[in-house]
């Protein structure tokens, strides 16, 4: 224009009116073209229904988003554009015969109403991601405008046959990526030109593909059969796909129309069954595509080219419109991966406290939500996630230990954090050390008379205690005090001993105290038991009541050099006392028989005093309660045939003064 030699000015309105007139003259209103069909579709947004296929036609009503319309014809009418989920435009209209199952004739008094075709989706269809496929036909594309219009991916033609490279491929790839759109490329197959060299076409494609992580799966565009028969074309496609997979590590998708697949590839499921799971199906003027190969071996379509002439910002003229079957492109993205790490790598907390770990999810073209979990927690600890599944790149994990209920034991615990998404599992490890500041809980010693044993100037008494700690017990200790004297720590047989057997002399008072140390070295205080003493009641004690025939006898080996005995059955001796334990002292020998023993009226056992040799002062039975109380012990002669005698030499009670 700068070379124009002269110019004049006209009134602004003149050329404007001229342009308007020319525009009207050059834009004829097309007559509707209808196609018989019937489909149900759902409105993606509020949709205006009109009397005629034109935005200037009378509006009948506006149906809300989600309304289900039944269309019976497709009409070509006046251009329309709208923002309905994404920016859409076109000139195709649905002739609608019913809304939400009701005839429009009854609703509006007309047989058909019209709505712009781009405002609907298949009923119950999942959400989609919208995109376009382009070639050099589109020329220079404003990808930012395209992205702003809601298009999220671009499939660009890269190559055709061997030797042809789409001159716009590189700029399309760079431009789409720069605008933040997912990108991939397709190869236009030419088995008609290279019937015996599919590998050459695959190599030509890969050589020019420029595959980098983040790109979507590349595609093979199949629409030229050449002269190959079905088997030949299947083999051709197989070689091409395998070669691209071999060189790139990603299985390409297949672009095809259902009719082509059925006619030229015999509707085979071979490719879908062999891992080529991504179908980019081309099917226009339908509410939902026909999916060949038995619904692509029940995988359905992944991409759908649903229009050959869409109008979108950023592209001049018609462009193919495509749809991804889902809301997350990660499963079809090359190199999509993620890593998880946790911080801090090690942490130490006292039991009963909590620790928060920061999780970093480094996503590489991976947008799928990630489920989070943790294993290796100590007992009594709980894990809380800030979010799971995580849709972002970070999350926090709070591990709370417990001092109540099920207390968390001290110790060092390797924690494994597991992140799962899109079929990938990634883990991170961290180490949690739980410290234990609390000493073990120790019970006061209790005392038990021990039998069988022998009465001497003293008798064996066992002091028993217990200790517990969530971190475990590393050792015990016990002290003894006699007659109010100094405490003396005793040596235990082992660190795990929780009892000690001592000889209690009659007339002395004993006390014992126990303590324990846990795995973290926390030692308890000494926990004293009550004082204890053993008291001897000779057979002559007034606390012993005899029933039946009992005889007294002198015996220098018996306690007090005397004892009582019975030979008749049911002769009994009952000792009443207050104490925490009781023992029966008797004589064993070849002529001794058995006696039934009752404690507080309850039969406990039958004790045999028989022995091949004689043994005096034998503690033949003992019973312990742990705490002091009023009790009775009764021995009843059984009347054992041939050697019925039983003796009562003495009873011993364990007194807790």
């Amino acid at each position: 224009m700068s070379a124009i030699p002269w110019r004049i000015s006209l009134r602004p309105g003149l050329c404007g009116a001229l342009a308007l007139l020319l525009a009207v003259a050059g834009t004829p209103l097309g007559a509707p073209v209808t196609r018989a069909a019937s489909q149900d579709l759902a409105a993606n947004c509020g949709v205006t229904l009109r009397m005629l296929p034109s935005t200037s036609s009378t509006a009948v009503t506006i149906v809300p988003v989600g309304s289900v319309i039944t269309w019976t014809s497709i009409a070509s009418g006046a251009p329309w554009s709208a923002t309905c989920g994404s920016l859409v435009a076109g000139s195709t209209w649905y002739g609608i015969s019913a809304v939400n199952g009701q005839d429009v004739a009854s609703l509006y008094g007309v047989p058909l109403v019209y709505a712009a075709s781009g405002l609907f989706r298949p009923v119950d269809a999942p959400a989609f991601i919208e995109g376009v496929d382009v070639s050099r036909w589109q020329g220079a594309i404003d990808f930012f405008s395209l992205q702003s219009a809601g298009k999220r991916f671009v499939i660009a033609k890269a190559t055709e046959g061997i030797g042809f490279l789409d001159p716009m491929y590189l700029s399309n790839r760079v431009g789409a990526s720069g605008a933040g759109m997912a990108i991939t490329a397709y190869h236009f197959a030419r088995p008609d030109l290279n019937p015996t060299n599919p590998q050459g076409e695959a190599d030509w494609f890969v050589d020019n593909l420029g595959l980098v992580p983040g790109m979507l799966a590349p595609a093979l565009d199949l629409e030229v059969p050449g002269s190959l028969d079905t088997a030949g074309l299947q083999a051709w496609v197989k070689v091409w796909l395998d070669r691209v997979y071999e060189r790139t590590g990603i299985r390409p998708m297949i672009y095809v129309s259902p009719s082509f697949w059925k006619k030229y590839l015999a509707d085979t499921t071979m490719f879908a069954d062999q891992g080529y799971a991504i179908l980019w199906v081309a099917h226009w003027f339908v509410a939902g595509p026909t999916v060949p190969a038995n619904n692509w071996s029940n995988r359905g379509w992944t991409f759908w080219q649903y229009s050959n002439c869409g109008s979108v910002p950023g592209i001049i003229g018609c462009v193919d419109l495509d749809r991804y079957n889902g809301t997350d492109l990660t499963p079809v993205t090359y190199g999509a991966d993620f890593a998880v790490s946790a911080s801090p790598l090690t942490a130490t907390v006292p039991s009963g406290s909590s620790i928060t770990y920061d999780l970093s999810l480094v996503r590489t073209f991976f947008t799928t939500p990630i489920d989070l979990g943790v294993t290796g927690l100590p007992a009594g600890a709980t894990a809380t996630w800030s979010v799971s599944p995580a849709t972002d790149s970070s999350a926090t994990l709070t591990v709370s230990t417990s001092l109540t209920g099920a207390p968390t034991p001290g110790g060092t615990y390797p924690l494994t954090i597991t992140a799962i998404g899109g079929g990938l599992t990634r883990t991170a490890t961290t180490t949690l050390t739980v410290t234990d500041d609390l000493p073990p809980v120790v019970t006061a010693p209790v005392y038990r008379l021990v039998h069988p044993s022998k009465l001497t100037a003293s008798i064996p008494v066992q002091a028993v205690w217990s200790a517990a700690d969530t971190s475990g017990i590393s050792g015990h200790g016990v002290q003894r005090q006699v007659g109010g004297g100094p405490w003396e720590e005793l040596t235990l047989p082992s660190a795990s001993s929780t009892s000690v057997i001592e000889s209690f002399s009659f007339g002395s008072v004993y006390s014992y105290a126990a303590r324990a140390t846990d795995g973290f070295g926390n030692a308890s205080d000494w926990v004293p038991g009550t004082s204890a003493a053993v008291v001897l009641a000779e057979q002559t004690s007034s606390s012993i009541a005899y029933s039946g025939a009992w005889k007294s006898g002198a015996n220098v080996y018996a306690s007090g050099s005397s004892l009582k005995y019975a030979t008749r059955s049911n002769a009994s001796a009952t000792y009443s006392f207050t104490g925490a334990g009781v023992a029966w002292v008797a004589y064993r020998g070849p002529n001794r028989g058995s006696a039934r023993v009752y404690v507080d009226g309850v039969y406990k056992k039958t004790v045999s005093l028989y022995a091949s040799t004689y043994a005096a002062k034998q503690i033949v039975f003992a019973f312990n309660w742990g705490s002091s109380g009023a009790h009775k012990i009764k021995v009843v002669a059984v009347g054992t045939r041939g050697h019925p005698r039983i003796d009562v030499d003495a009873f011993i009670r364990l007194s807790l003064p």
Binding site: I8, L18, G26, V33, R35, E223, S257
Partner: protein, 200 residues
């Protein structure tokens, strides 16, 4: 540019005559004339339907090219996902300078002259001046042919605006059918053909 993908009724001849006369005015009163010896193809005016220039350029009027003076050929076909793209070349084989609109109505033809797919009538477009021997190029894209088997070869034609006739492109070869796009919409669905503006 938005080209409807459907067959549309042409405007009446009278309407197009008015358009051409006005376009001539545009080429004359609102256009420009390339200086002799410069490029053999010169754009003289832009009068798109949405433009409303406040000033226009003046040039001497030139005659529109006669179809007999235009030699058009399909240089090659290539494929795209569901469509075919033809690279087309136009040469002014006449003796004098003449003008063409940058856009025409494209058609996909078979060897018997049958119209397989008919494009939309174009909006008014830039007027280009072509010197003798001058060449213009364009791309044509066609998709969704669902009709009967065509007679080879398949080629394209351009119906010039204003009733100036139609030029049929010479196909790449006498048996070439590669420009026939596949049927993807199904029987009865409309085909689509459109062109990019002629450009030097």
């Amino acid at each position: 540019m938005k080209t409807p993908a459907v067959h549309r009724s042409p405007p009446s001849r009278r309407v197009w005559l008015v358009a051409v006369v006005l376009a001539g005015l545009a080429a004359g009163a609102c256009g420009t004339q390339g200086a002799p010896g410069t490029s053999p193809v010169t754009p003289v005016a832009t009068a798109g339907s949405n433009s409303e220039p406040s000033e226009v350029l003046i040039a001497s009027p030139l005659a529109a090219c006669h179809t007999a003076d235009l030699a058009v050929r399909v240089v090659s076909w290539e494929g795209a996902a569901g469509s075919r793209i033809g690279s087309v070349e136009l040469v002014n084989s006449g003796a004098g300078r003449c003008t063409v609109f940058a856009l025409a109505q494209p058609q996909l033809l078979d060897g018997a002259g049958s119209t397989l797919i008919e494009g939309a009538h174009p909006p008014l477009s830039e007027v280009l001046v072509i010197a003798p021997g001058g060449t213009l190029s364009t791309l044509v894209q066609a998709s969704n042919y669902c009709g009967p088997e065509p007679v080879p070869p398949v080629t394209v034609a351009f119906v010039l605006p204003g009733g100036l006739g139609r030029v049929v492109a010479t196909p790449p070869s006498s048996a070439d059918t590669y420009g026939l796009p596949p049927c993807i919409g199904g029987a009865g669905t409309p085909g689509n053909i459109e062109m990019q503006p002629w450009a030097p």
